[in-house]
């Protein structure tokens, strides 16, 4: 908090937030590209998501007669809440002031705020598909959110802190120690990330069949800049979960001081790590099939169980030692 009035870290924090927004479409484009190559297609260029966003922002928005003010304000709330949540996660450097504003529990809370409005707009226009999407989204999140919190609790208890920057620094300073709790938490968090970002096997981001949609079903009525913001928020969320996983479990390379060299290394490191994770996601999406809805609860219970095992193994094996 001592550097609170210092302007330079705030400037860097703003840059980092902008980087999150810029990386979002890139990661999605990369995943799509890798997926296409795995399916023997050439695929769209990696920068296609940027073009899509630009196209959406340049189009006129349509709003149903039955829509309420919630419908028009929700895209801004969802986008800003997701973006702010992302901005609190150390991306390139650990020592930024935004990290202190919201710890990991507040991060989960901000994502829940975004989801709350997302589900509300699903129900706003009064279509059956929207309500269905909202109902399913709340089921998935009700099971995924506790799993995520429990997974991060075992990290927080190890580092004795819920501040993400402290967790990352603790992990960096303690060196390469193989902790069973981290392995369990990583497993749990990976499953949660798949569910929360709406990827296969929980949801299919490329589906065109309304009855199988979760995330897309809530956005069916959006168009133009509203749709663009919602899509962008989803892309940022993907980067957010990716960064969370790679920077907590594999933090090496992240800048611990604010020198240009360290920051450059940090940037290169995070881009590399995200590209690897994105490729892994594409492979997983290619080899897995989408589950039907009521299998999802078993999938998420597994992630909760893994996270709980992580927490208990931390408490039983690691605290006393």
């Amino acid at each position: 908090m001592d550097h609170f009035l210092n302007m330079a870290p705030w400037g860097l924090a703003l840059l980092q937030a902008l980087l999150y927004a810029a990386l979002g479409p890139l990661l999605v484009g990369w995943v799509r590209k890798v997926k296409a190559r795995l399916q023997n297609r050439r695929g769209a260029p990696i920068i296609q998501p940027y073009r899509d966003l630009w196209k959406l922002f340049a189009k006129e928005a349509r709003v149903a007669h039955t829509a309420s003010p919630v419908f028009r304000s929700a895209p801004y709330i969802v986008f800003v809440a997701t973006w702010l949540a992302a901005a609190t996660i150390p991306l390139v450097a650990t020592n930024l002031p935004t990290a202190a504003i919201a710890d990991i529990i507040a991060l989960v809370g901000l994502l829940a705020l975004a989801r709350f409005f997302l589900a509300l707009v699903g129900m706003d226009v009064g279509t059956a598909f929207g309500g269905m999407g909202a109902s399913r989204e709340m089921l998935v999140s009700a099971l995924a959110e506790p799993a995520m919190l429990v997974a991060v609790f075992s990290l927080a208890m190890t580092a004795h802190s819920t501040n993400l920057a402290s967790v990352v620094e603790y992990h960096l300073n303690s060196g390469l120690v193989l902790r069973p709790s981290f392995l369990f938490a990583l497993g749990g968090l990976l499953l949660v990330a798949l569910a929360e970002t709406g990827r296969i096997p929980v949801d299919n981001p490329a589906t065109h069949l309304e009855l199988t949609m979760i995330h897309e079903a809530m956005l069916l009525e959006y168009s133009g800049r509203h749709l663009g913001l919602m899509e962008w928020a989803a892309q940022i969320k993907l980067v957010l979960y990716g960064t969370l996983i790679v920077n907590i479990f594999f933090p090496w390379g992240i800048a611990q001081s604010l020198t240009p060299v360290a920051l450059g290394v940090g940037l290169a490191a995070i881009v590399t790590k995200l590209l690897i994770l994105g490729a892994a996601l594409a492979v997983a999406e290619t080899v897995l099939a989408k589950m039907r809805l009521f299998r999802v609860s078993a999938f998420l219970n597994l992630s909760l169980l893994l996270s709980l095992l992580g927490l208990l193994s931390h408490i039983i094996l690691e605290v006393g030692a």
Binding site: M1, F57, A58, K59, E60, A61, R62, V63, A64, T66, S68, P69, Y76, I77, F79, V80, A81, W83, L84, A100, I101, A102, D103, I105, A106, G109, L110, A112, L113, R115, F116, M123, D124, V125, G126, T127, G131, M132, S135, R136, M138, L139, S141, A142, L143, E145, L149, V150, F153, M157, S161, T162, N163, L220, G224, R225, L308, L311, I316, V319
Partner: protein, 668 residues
Amino acid sequence: MDTGLLLAAFAIALALTSSAVSLGAGRIPQILRMLAMPLLGLAGLSALAAGLVTLVEGGVIATTLPLGLPWLPWRVRLDPLAGFFFTLIGIVSCAVGLYGPVYARAIERGRESLAALGVFTGLFLTGMLLVVLADDAFLFMVAWELMSLSSYFLVAFQHENGANRRAAFLYLLMAHIGGLAILLGFGVLAAFGGGFGFDTMRVAELPFIWSSIAFVLVFLGFGMKAGLVPLHAWLPEAHPVAPSHISALMSGVMLKVAVYGFIRVIFDLIGQFHWQWGVSVLAIGSVSAIMGVLYALMQNDLKRLLAYSSVENLGIIFIGLGLAMVFLSTGHLVLGSLALIAALYHSINHAMFKGLLFLGAGAILHSTHEHDLEQMGGLLRRMPWTGLFFLIGCLSISALPPFNGFVSEWLTFQSALQAWQLDSGVLRSLIPIAAAVLALTGALAAACFVKAYGIAFLGQARSRHVRRARPVPFGMRASQGLLAAMCLLLGVFPASVIALVDVVARQLLGEGLPQTTAQGWLWLTPVSPGTASYSAPLLIVLLSLGAVAVAWMLRRGLVRRVRHCDAWDCGFTPPTARMQYTATAFAQPIRRVFGVLFHIEESIDLRKGGEAHHRLIVRDRAWGLLYAPVARAVESAARRVVKLQSGNIRVYLGWTLSTLLVLLWIIS
């Protein structure tokens, strides 16, 4: 007499006056809305002032009243704990004072007795204030009974409906079983302390076995009032049938008085902590939280949904209290006071948002005469202010930042995450499981209130009277606005609130939370800045700055036009109101996943002409597992006792004599 106590006395006098003037409402109906309800609001204001003065000064004022029995005068005491609960009662009573006149006006032409409403509301508030103020077991129990009895009459207010009468009777029964348990608990304390005064109980040294008996009795009694699972089943029956502002008082405030009683007796009077107690409170709290929210999700009656969600929130409060007891039993004073403050914070939060939501449900009821979610829809466009305030309530109760519910859940999580400091491995692993339950509860609460808000306020109206809803009068809107503003204030300035509440923990446990507010009003750092920090003011500033910036950039340069059209719905015919998702359908996935926890009867009846009807009943398992067996046992015992009733006076005299002899033999 000191300012705080004077203001408290003034509050009680105003509440009693409100009750007294209402006697005339039978003749002149206007008295209720012109005089009685404003007096109630003033009583609330005065109680709020008394509470704030006590919290700021941080002292303890006690005095003896010239009332009571000759050898047992009533004593009152205003300490920071009582002051905190005075504040809480005061704010909600203010809102009720604003809401009440509109309600009273609406029923002036009805058949309900206005006098009864006014008299018992005044007595109800008096009872609650006196419970908090009491400094001896005698006055405490008298006030407790005053509170229970007057609220019984309010639950039975619309007694033409048979279901309401049944709910009221059940409430009365449970309140008295609970009252009995509390009385017995006080009996144990008084026996060791040698008097009914709280001061003697405070210094008494109880052996573990007797203090445990007292703990069980007190937990049973206050837990029953607080609606903890498995004793909760009366609560969702009784709270919704009262007029909405009374529901707000009952759910928002009276349950907190039970929390107050529990804290007063366990933390203050008994004053010793054992981890076994802490773990049992933690377990019951966790079960209440999760069962409460799951049952809330299954409800289609808006007020019943809110009542079940009260069970959930009281569970969260008791999770905090259980954590505090575990930490205190192992000598971790700072962590204990952190968990206690988390529980207190959630108490005042729940009072604000549950009061707000019940008043919102009352506004809907006032405007549409509808309490069934399946008939609602599209109310946001018909009642924009109520819609906005209700949204704030939903966001707060779902524990979303930057609103107040999030702060108290965050504090509870923070204290649970300090479990690594405990020495016992069992406790260390139990507490994180409770934290996991709390996380699941929070996520399900969000689902529950997406359902409530989405079905009631969004979409299209599902019935004709809801389509014609009109905004409610100013008083109703103002009362909701007041509580909504409190939700926002308590959410955005947590460090300032804790700086004020800290004195409760300091006075009760001798240890406060100096670290929490050490970084100024901007930062909340419960243990230390390195461990955890949260800045709600910065969060809300950044959220609004970001939203404004994004909106401004998008509207510059690019297309800014918005065209209104029919809903697209994937190109099918424009949707009608009947094609929307229903409340039952919304909860179906969760009903299926958590099916074992409910008693579900579901069938499809085929009727003549090939018409199919879907029938679904979700019952509370507590009825079948606890209430029905107990009721059956009591009934069969009664059937045995009835054999004594021969109708012959000589046999009765014989029984009386033998009983007397046995009693004399026991005494001697």
